[in-house]
Point group: C2
DNA sequence: GTCAACCTTCTTGTATACAATAAGTATGAA
DNA sequence: TTCATACTTATTGTATACAAGAAGGTTGAC
């Protein structure tokens, strides 16, 4: 499944507004548009050499995914999720990954564990190379594998959707001292649990693994803005 | 949260296209538009006395929620979810409700259990009156209460979203002999588990309670179309 | 000097005109 | 008769024109 089309038109080409929405999403997540800032229809239309119509369609898609907020008659604004809301999303992510892990342990097919080990090896290589960006990518691959191995396509899509939504907040934590190595160890324990078919253990480990991210995020917040603890 | 605005514009009025989307959704779920049928932009525009623009916006919202499918250059069609996909959604619903139940048992505030008992009493009254429609409504109230008592607003919204999506498939089962009484008993066990703060039990009971619906759905399917078992 | 009301201007929401493509139909050849 | 091809028609995608509302500035009164 494409990273940027939550509900792809089955088999068809992504529409123009899909591409624009994907681009805007990327630009929001990478910081070109700051939270709270307004997205201007006309300037974006000029930039993309289209009329306002496809831009407005793209805005709607972004609004549905929760990335921007549509204020009637005032425009669309990059949404600033509150710390509480972000913590809530991390909690849901933790629970969803726990479910994926449980189902994966129960159902994982031939070769599935090998895929996980391969992905994990790539994580370790990135870690040892000190390449944070590469670790980030390989880590994503690892988690998406588990979503897929749940054997439930719908769950896989929903988990991927939330994973993408949390992208900017997850990324912050990679720079916390020692977190990468710790994360790496957790990955290995998770793979072992799945390979043993130990559903309860896989579930618990994944829940903790992701919940820690929420806690780290909270920790970062309180350091930066002690009043914004949530 | 309004039943028909998945991502409400915070505090603002629902837009015209929101209202149209809600109306179309209702009409799809209640069978005015059969699965697979095409929604015509111009006739709907005439019917609602607007131009094609708001209709198209409504279509986009429906497409994002998965209710219709957008075939580029061909139109939007009422989506016929495959049996497999519906089963997958039921499984995810079961897991989400299990999570809600677990969190509710851990966190439920003063008076929360009373609310559940009240909702359950309404269910029982409907059951004893033999009023299937009323039971359906009160049952929905009961489940939404549990979503809310998870203490996680984001989870509450996601669970409500999926609940609504499964609406037409859940409704079928109410007419299965004895299912209502069985469901009622499960509700009571769930409330007791939550009132005891027994998170694991509440979680398991809810998972089973919802998973049974998926199984009943599957059962109905195989009776109707033995080849469509999934 | 300050506040309020009005007016200007900018932006969005909607309608409509136009362009492009897909489906259906008719025609002709094999 | 059947199949293929071209044409017609209908429908979507996009652009643009127009309407309506909100923000901000200006002017006037107190």
């Amino acid at each position: 499944m494409n990273e940027h089309t939550p509900h792809p038109e089955s088999g068809g080409q992504p529409s123009r507004s899909d591409r624009i929405a994907a681009m805007l999403e990327e630009q929001i997540l990478t910081g070109r548009f700051a939270p709270g800032s307004r997205l201007d229809e006309v300037s974006l239309a000029e930039e993309h050499r289209v009329s306002r119509t496809p831009i407005r369609e793209a805005f709607q898609k972004l609004a549905q995914s929760g990335l921007v907020e549509h204020a009637p008659r005032r425009g669309v604004f990059v949404r600033q999720a509150s710390p509480i809301e972000i913590m809530e999303m991390f909690e849901v992510m933790a629970e969803m990954e726990a479910v994926c892990g449980r189902l994966a342990a129960l159902r994982s097919a031939e070769g599935a564990v090998d895929q996980l080990r391969t992905a994990n090896a790539a994580c370790r290589a990135a870690l040892e190379a000190g390449d944070v960006d590469a670790y980030y990518v390989e880590n994503g691959t690892f988690h998406h594998l588990i979503y897929a191995q749940s054997g439930n396509r719908f769950l896989e899509q929903e988990a991927s959707r939330l994973h993408r939504r949390l992208k900017p907040y997850r990324r912050m934590q990679l720079f916390l001292r020692g977190r990468l190595a710790q994360s790496m160890g957790e990955h290995e324990a998770i793979v072992e649990a799945i390979s043993r078919g130990d559903a309860a253990e896989a579930s618990d480990l994944l829940r903790r693994h992701v919940a820690v991210q929420g806690e780290k995020f909270h920790h970062l917040l309180t350091q930066l803005r002690p009043d914004a603890a949530g």
